[in-house]
Amino acid sequence: MKNEWPLWEIFIRGQHGMSHRHVGSLHAPDAEMAIKNARDVYTRRNEGVSIWVVEANNISASSPSDKGPLYEPSESKVYRHPTFFDIPDEVGAM
């Protein structure tokens, strides 16, 4: 594909004291924009403490295995969280 932005793998340290963790990938023209995009894409519900980006074709892999990440709420966007909406018991799980 002509002129496709490179693919970057994104690693985020969610809390102090934790290691960086692979959260997914995205496209960006360069490393700086990749970091900004990662902030917008992968920390919508929390503030990651630190972000690493690595251009995907610079990664050498054996055989990966990792469970998907879970993430924590952002304080100011409570409506993103299911419990923000009061759902009556009668209607069942949602």
């Binding site: 995205l26 496209h27 700086e32 924009m33 900004k36 917008d40 894409v41 100011s76 966007k77």
Partner: protein
């Protein structure tokens, strides 16, 4: 004009800017040039809507118990106090980002001063908003530089955007008796005093973007005092306020 009246006008100016610009930016949702930009623009719009809730919430309180929604959805064009620049249509992505950059530059400097406001409520809103806006500015200046210094086409489009928007810059720094009243009370700075810092910032970024600042110092005005708006505002309000106007008193 009493200080309370001036204070209300000041709050409307802050809140209407973020309301109208947030609306404009939200129009991009689902239509941006690339997914990552779509998500980033939505974040900017969300921050602006959140700030609107705070500014207009406070304005409503000062104005005798109206809600932020009452102010956003039930005023007519002449009651709006935003600068004209935020009303103009998005046009292409270049103009949208150039407007964002010019607004962010003013906004970040303004909020930096408001953090030290003598009014605690204003200082608290500014403290929260300034963190968001620092990031908006970082992102919009990178994009302006990237597109200005990109291809010949992107450069030309950014120069055209700058030429179009520049006459709307001056209004952000026009000071009137309301501003004087706010400055006297230590609530907000006099906008004219922010201009030098703004010019330094904008000149640096636009130089990196290889763009030329137009020489004309002409400035459209009227939005901040409601004496003049663009024709675009009415159309924007027609959309934004439609449900509230068509079904008065309903709760959503």
């Amino acid at each position: 004009m009493t200080q309370d009246e001036a204070f209300l006008q000041f709050l409307l100016r802050m809140g209407d800017n973020t309301l109208i610009l947030g609306h404009r930016v939200s129009e991009w949702c689902g239509h941006a040039p690339v997914l990552e930009e779509d998500i980033a623009l939505a974040n900017t719009a969300l921050d602006l809507i959140g700030q609107t809730q705070m500014w207009l919430g406070l304005a409503g309180e000062v104005d005798g118990g109206q809600s932020a929604d009452d102010l956003a959805f039930l005023r007519d064009a002449w009651d709006f106090r935003n600068v004209l620049m935020v009303e103009v249509p998005n046009e292409d992505f270049g103009r949208t980002m150039m407007r964002q950059f010019l607004f962010d530059a003013w906004h970040s400097i303004m909020l930096g001063r408001l953090i030290k406001s003598s009014d605690e409520r204003v200082a608290a809103i500014a403290a929260k908003a300034s963190k968001e806006v620092a990031y908006h500015l970082e992102r919009s200046s990178d994009t302006v530089v990237g597109l200005g210094d990109g291809t010949a086409e992107s450069h030309d489009r950014m120069q055209a955007a700058l030429d179009y928007l520049w006459p709307y810059v001056g209004e952000m720094f026009a000071s009137d008796e309301i501003d004087a009243e706010m400055a006297k009370a230590g609530i907000a700075p006099n906008p004219a005093d922010l201009r030098a810092e703004f010019d330094a910032l904008v000149q640096r970024v636009l130089a990196d973007a290889t763009l030329t600042i137009p020489e004309s110092e002409f400035a459209h005005k009227g939005g901040r005092n409601g004496k003049m708006h663009t024709e675009h505002l009415g159309h924007l309000l027609t959309q934004m306020q439609w449900l509230q106007r068509a079904y008065p008193g309903a709760s959503w």
